[in-house]
Point group: C2
């Protein structure tokens, strides 16, 4: 099943979050452009539209969306918040590739962690519980350009 405004609305309802114009505006924006945004960028984009939100509201909306898995947070070296709407909406564990040119994010279907976990646990004699894995580079579209 592909992600759409309707599936997002359904996800809000499933989590008893009200379907408000501001929330829809944020979702619509994230759906239109599949890249990551800072809360301030979202705020800026919605300014001067009929569904602009205050900056604190944007923060809250994005945090709520993140809490229900509607959006995903990524890691950046500036240690600030960035969110995007992942096309891999199934909720299955996966990782992301971020294009440093266009800031779009691609899900990586295969997680290689299981195959190396045992090696690492043996090497360290530790119990590995979680991992962070994220890739950066240049995406197909930006390369052919």
């Amino acid at each position: 099943m592909d992600i759409s405004i309707d599936s997002c609305i359904a996800q809000l309802r499933r989590n008893t979050l009200k379907v408000t114009p501001r929330r829809l505006a944020v979702i619509t924006m994230l759906l239109a452009e599949r890249r990551y945004f800072s809360p301030y960028e979202v705020y800026e984009r919605l300014l001067n539209t009929d569904c602009s939100s205050g900056l604190p509201s944007v923060y809250r909306i994005l945090q709520e969306f993140s809490a229900i898995g509607l959006v995903t947070e990524i890691e950046r070296s500036d240690r600030q918040q960035y969110y995007f709407l992942c096309k891999e909406s199934s909720g299955a564990h996966h990782h992301h590739f971020i294009c440093r040119i266009c800031c779009r994010v691609e899900p990586i279907k295969k997680c290689f962690f299981d195959s190396v976990k045992k090696h690492i646990e043996t090497e360290l004699d530790a119990q590995v519980e979680s991992h962070i894995f994220q890739l950066e580079g240049i995406c197909a579209s930006c390369r052919n350009h």
Copy 2:
């Protein structure tokens, strides 16, 4: 070669950083306990010693150390700064395992990235340039307890 106060001092000299009591105090502290610290924690520990530093100085010292590769920064979900002194001082690319109990950090000798890079590049038709990889769990010492 193992890491020691002397090898740290040599590294300061190599990078024309002066060997000051405050810098030595930070190094000594990080050497004694191989876990990660926030700048504030370092500041706190040095308070009421003969080599205490102001908080801005601690931030600067840790940033300088990080810039010359003497300390390493880790990622945490609270998006704040944390540094530790890695026993793997060779400078070769490697990753880290963080114990969520004792906050100690272990280097992982083998990086599995090269073996999966091609798979990912083929899957995405992208050029992968860098990656973040970090593990968390319970270390050997904390498990046997």
